[in-house]
């Protein structure tokens, strides 16, 4: 430091001059030489100590430390001062420290006032706004100390200041964020003590803030927290950042009244002056858990009820079939053997019985088929849809021959489907196309186009009666029929089965038609996993 250096130098030359002016003995000269070398050594030590002191001050970056003479002119400057206030040493040394004050403070003489107070009381500490070189303001914590020599004369002042915006504002912002959070937030230090919490935390756990500060977090979250804390302490900040909302772990928390509730816990490390702190966001998930459990239960119930219904349909259809087979067979036998042998009433009655029984049989068979689509599930394999169509046409051989229908198709692709169900689907659609016809040759064409999203869209087009638009949806419902029984026999289940099959395959079935101009049924199937 220059002033001390100068003082030392002048003291030395004064001593030398005094020595020269004296006539002295050899012995005295020897002693003097010894003293001089001692002085040199001390001088060196002082210089070294000054250098260390300067390095020490320069090493402090978060505090501005500098000295002023008694009038407030700056005579030293450390790196922290340069960083906080924005001036380099060569720009500021020699200037008055009042340049750090806002203009209104300068106008009312605040800088001089501070120096007076510091001089009078030895030390003055305050928080106040300061101005950086670029004109920006910041809140600083400043300590002035009066420097006096051994005789008590005022030599100057030291100023020690700290930018509070770097800590206070950040902390205030952090606290604001904490309070605004919808979750309970608790900040914990490495020994598991609560150092900060928000109002949600007070509410959720039923404690007052002061009852929790300094307490162990295990009072709130007995099990699992400490383990997470350790894990989070070891995790890198990047890993912590990568932990997204919703990936928290579920634990049990305890309120002041000892009642427990389920929570979701998210932890993130926070570096601070007091070491690594951990911010814990704690969400009460009892409502969510209840809702989830409730939903799960409802899903289970629905599944069971569906299964029971399908089982019932299957068993009922099967068990109904047996006695019905007897009724149908024997009324048919009656009709065959005794037709024309009894009176005309008897013939008519028997005919109604035969018709009723055979309709009932078809109904039961269709119901059985419908329920099987559900109970058997879909065994999705890569199969040739062309083979499935061929199989369906074979099953329809009788109807095709009888109506002289012309059934044509595009080359059909390999699809991911349940083979039995796909055969049934084609059979029902082509069967309908042949069945619902006016006079003339039924023409049916099965085409396929590449749909979006790895799907094939199949269409079954006919030249039949067509359907009015208001029935486009309705025809896929259970027992829905558009024609009198005398015109077209049927149970009204065929298209419902088609719909169920297509939906079982994750698709939709639809119809496009104009009355008198035929119909086109469309459905999509997923393409084969393997490239075909």
């Amino acid at each position: 430091m220059h002033p001390q250096g100068k003082n030392t130098n002048s003291a030395r030359s004064r001593a030398r001059a005094a020595i020269r002016n004296l006539s002295i003995s050899n012995a005295t000269e020897k002693r003097l030489a010894k003293t001089e070398s001692k002085l040199k050594f001390l001088e060196e030590a002082l210089r070294e100590s000054q250098e260390q002191y300067r390095m020490l001050l320069d090493g402090i970056e978060d505090h501005a430390i500098f000295m002023m003479d008694s009038a407030g002119r700056i005579i030293s400057w450390n790196a922290g001062a340069e960083r906080i206030k924005g001036y380099r040493a060569d720009e500021i040394i020699g200037r008055n420290f009042s340049c750090f004050f806002p203009s209104q403070d300068i106008e009312r003489g605040r800088p001089e006032e501070i120096l007076q107070i510091a001089a009078a009381s030895g030390r003055h500490e305050e928080q106040g706004m300061r101005v950086r070189k670029d004109g920006s303001h910041f809140l600083a914590n400043v300590t002035f100390t009066a420097l006096r020599d051994s005789t008590g004369n005022l030599r100057g002042f030291s100023e020690f200041s700290h930018d509070l915006s770097e800590s206070k504002e950040a902390e205030a912002r952090y606290r604001g964020l904490l309070e605004a959070a919808p979750d309970a937030m608790v900040v914990v230090n490495q020994s598991g003590e609560i150092v900060l919490l928000n109002v949600q935390a007070e509410k959720q756990f039923g404690y007052r803030r002061d009852e929790l500060l300094g307490q162990k977090v295990t009072n709130l979250i007995p099990v699992g927290f400490a383990e997470r804390l350790v894990a989070d302490g070891l995790r890198s900040a990047e890993d912590a950042l990568a932990q997204q909302i919703g990936t928290g772990i579920e634990l049990v928390a305890r309120r002041k009244d000892s009642s427990e509730f389920p929570i979701e816990l998210m932890l993130s490390p926070l570096e601070s002056a007091e070491g690594i702190l951990v911010t814990a966001a704690i969400r009460d998930i009892s409502v969510r858990q209840r809702a989830a459990a409730n939903l799960l239960q409802k899903v289970e119930e629905l599944k069971r009820s569906n299964e029971e219904l399908e089982q019932f349909a299957s068993i009922a259809s099967h068990d109904l079939q047996e006695p019905l087979r007897m009724v149908a067979s024997y009324t048919q036998l009656l009709s065959r053997r005794y037709k024309g042998k009894l009176d005309s009433d008897a013939d008519e009655f028997i005919a109604f019985a035969v018709d009723g029984a055979s309709r009932m049989q078809r109904l039961i068979q269709d119901l059985l088929a419908y329920s099987r689509v559900g109970t058997r599930g879909s065994d999705l394999l890569d199969i040739s849809s062309e083979d499935a169509l061929r199989h369906a046409l074979l099953n329809l051989r009788g109807a095709i021959e009888e109506s002289s229908a012309l059934v044509t198709h595009d080359p059909l692709p390999t699809v991911s489907a349940d083979e039995t169900q796909l055969v049934q689907l084609f059979q029902n659609l082509v069967g309908n196309a042949i069945k619902y016809q006016g006079p003339g040759v039924p023409k049916v064409h099965i085409a396929v186009t590449r749909g979006s999203g790895k799907k094939w869209t199949f269409s079954v087009q006919d030249n039949g009666l067509g359907i009015e638009p208001q029935y486009f949806e309705k025809i896929f419902g259970m027992f829905q029929r558009l024609h009198k029984r005398e015109a077209f026999a049927g149970t009204g289940i065929g298209l419902a089965i088609c719909k169920k099959i297509v939906e079982q395959h994750g698709g939709r079935i639809s119809v496009d038609s104009k009355l008198g101009h035929g119909s086109t049924f469309r459905f999509a199937l997923a393409e084969s996993e393997k490239k075909s």
Binding site: M326, Y330, Q332, Q361
Partner: protein, 153 residues
């Protein structure tokens, strides 16, 4: 030596069936298909085995040329009857035809594993049933070559 039968020769058929309605239908159908058939009826599995082993009232029962076996029977069901027949050296060569309303895959697999000679599903329609019985008659009585009966063997 040859088992292909001359027409007019009496053929013994054992029908194992618990439903009287089905028994009568089968009788009617066989009567139309082949009047020379002697249809014997056992209404449960125990009776069927007694008939085949000439036990109790069945001491004089003939060895059937073919067995028509329903699966769902009281006391001893058709699968057990089938197992007993195919384990019995004296009986296992008798063609055993499963005739049932079940089309469950598990039943079909099980019956063939137990060496049923064929598995037929009872058609729902009378016409189809009659035609099936006719087919059974045609196939097993006139088309198939069988080893000579090993009576008591």
């Amino acid at each position: 030596m040859t088992a292909i039968r001359e027409t007019g020769m009496a053929i013994e058929v054992l029908l194992v069936e618990d439903s009287p309605g089905d028994v009568r239908l089968t009788q009617e159908a066989f009567r139309d298909a082949n009047p020379s058939i002697h249809l014997h009826v056992a209404s449960d599995g125990i009776e069927a085995m007694a008939f085949l082993r000439h036990e109790g009232t069945h001491v004089h029962a003939p060895r059937p040329d073919i067995i028509l076996l329903d699966l769902n029977l009281p006391k001893m069901d058709g699968r057990e009857v089938l197992a007993h027949i195919k384990e019995d050296g004296a009986l296992k060569l008798i063609p055993t035809v499963i005739l049932t309303t079940s089309d469950a895959e598990a039943d079909i697999v099980k019956c063939y594993q137990l060496h049923a000679n064929c598995y037929l599903k009872k058609p729902v329609q009378l016409d189809a049933f009659e035609s099936l019985v006719k087919s059974i008659n045609d196939f097993w009585q006139t088309k198939v070559a069988l080893p000579p009966p090993t009576r008591g063997g």
